[in-house]
Amino acid sequence: MFYLVDLAYLLFMFVSLYFTVMFFILFFENKELIQKIPKLVRYPFVSIIVPAYNEEKTVGKTIQNLKNLIYPKNKLEIIVVNDGSTDNTGNIIKKFKGIKIFEKSNQGRKAFALNFGIKKAKGEIITCIDADSFPKSDSLLKTIPFFNDTSVGAVTTSVIVKEPKKLIQKLQYLEYVMIVWSRKLLEFLDGIYVTPGTMSLYRKSILEEIGYFDEKNITEDIEVAWKILRKGYKIRMSMPAKVYTNVPSSFNKWWNQRIRWNIGGFQTSIKHIDAVFKSRFKSFGMFVVPFFVISYVISILGFGLFLYILGQGVYNYSNILIKSFIYKSVPVNISTFTDFIMLPNVFTIFGFGIFILSLLWVLTSLKVTGMKLNGLKGIYTILIYLTLYITIFPIILLYSSFKFFRGKGYKWR
């Protein structure tokens, strides 16, 4: 028999299938372009901005990595903005020579520090890097050539999780691999919707044109990308340019980080919702904003269905168990065990199909990006990722929307 919940399930499956197919088509049609970098024709002046707030554990290594970047030294400046740190960050950065250090009081959000640094910078290209990110020495050489195209407003890099040890870090490692790959594929639709703070490069003139980073937004790296796209500029991604970053090592830190990402996403979506399906904003209006909104809806719909099916099963079987106890019966038909026989139908076909496609998606991501998750532990990580890890996302989304709509806001730190 067919019910409303069945229709909702089929809708969820259709949309999930649509985006999976879209990514596979993008991959097969652009295979040769994924690792490609344009030819470097000139060395524009590059200013690197590192906002640092209580980053004593990592800032030294980050600066050392920046000093090791292969790029003409007379075309490069490193600006560290000590954003009111109360730990040893200030003393550590002072030990480095050849960098510009600016002190400012903390105003609660990273965007303040970034804008502060950008206004002090003299570069044609601004590179924003988190104080716990470690770019490879060739990452500028592999990103700057994308600015040959004057319509390119920003270039982003492959963000890789540095030395994942705990399970939660390995899961994030896998997640980042897939983010890297799908972000590159979105480039072919002019749909890169975030320029991560780990390492992204911007044309300074465009940052000035769009009014810099939004100081009210807690995910300024999403918001700035949306403003760039909205103005009709392109965002490109350099797959071979790699930057390593630390990720949360505990569930609590991870949870808080994701809430911040979600709330920032809501802030950005609401700010730009007027662009949805407006063709004058090109792919931004026709793809990026709808894609974002649909992903929220489909995530909550999927989770709702999951809860409904799970809840119904738990309710039914717990009732059967309780009543079996009351009526002194065993809870199963001992002659047939019919409750344990699974027959395939349209739902199981789609469910199984989507799972297999997701698995293929993960394996292809690993292959294309050249990343590895070896051995039995790698298989466990992939399975936990596909079954448990991504199931938590809608919970975070719901909790974040609750926090966001309660109007309590969220602090960067």
Binding site: V21, Y327, K328, L343, N345, V346, F347, I349, F350
Partner: protein, 217 residues
């Protein structure tokens, strides 16, 4: 180029989706056809068993004809009971074949004929098995859990009692006038209910011990 991607994605997704639905339909129809075939074959078996009983009574001696008729009746009960479980499983799984309800009605009619034959055999041959008719609701979702429990208790009891008990599950709400008549005759107003040996009506979930008070297991 970009529009091209969306068009290609839509076409491929729709094709895959339709293929998925078609496979689902094919599986549902296969199950339905299997049920149809087995109900048809049971219908033939039933007519054969019934005619066999009539001819036995006409041409054989009374005691051996009764023995054979009871035996074939009990064998038929076991087969029809197993088929009922298969139909029930398919009812829950199939999404595209509402005509499974018609098969359920055909099945219920077969059960009624079997029950009627069992009553006749009890009268004419003094058969000593107990007949347990289990009434349940096909459409009422709120009854599912109670009915599930009752059906498990009865199935396990049937397993325990073997040929000393015949179990006849009948859906109350499939618009079958014979069932409506039985319903009003025995004043069966809610499900799950059990009618034992055409005399005792038990309403609500009954545990094994309660039922055993009325049957010879």
């Amino acid at each position: 180029m970009k529009n091209n991607i969306f068009i290609k994605t839509t076409v491929i997704t729709v094709i895959i989706f339709i293929l998925g639905i078609l496979v689902g339909l094919w599986l549902d129809n296969n199950r339905l056809n299997e049920i149809k075939d087995s109900i048809t074959s049971m219908d033939i078996e039933w007519n054969d068993a019934r005619l066999q009983g009539i001819f036995y009574q006409k041409i054989s001696n009374q005691s051996s004809s009764c023995e054979d008729a009871i035996k074939s009746n009990l064998e038929f009960n076991n087969r029809i009971y197993q088929k009922g479980i298969e139909i029930e499983k398919s009812e829950n799984i199939n999404k595209f074949t509402p005509e499974i309800v018609y098969e359920k009605r055909r099945y219920a009619l077969l059960q009624l004929q079997f029950w009627s034959n069992s009553i006749n055999l009890k009268e004419s041959c003094n058969a000593n098995y107990s007949s347990v008719v289990y009434f349940y609701s096909f459409f009422d979702e709120s009854k599912k859990i109670d009915q599930n429990i009752q059906s498990i208790i009865l199935s396990n009891l049937k397993e325990e009692c073997g040929n000393n008990m015949i179990l006849i599950p009948l859906p109350l709400d499939l618009s079958i006038s014979t069932i409506d008549f039985i319903k009003s005759s025995y004043e069966i107003n809610s499900t799950p209910s059990i009618l034992i040996d055409e005399k005792t009506v038990l309403t609500g979930i009954q545990n094994r011990e309660d039922i055993l008070k009325y049957i010879n297991c």
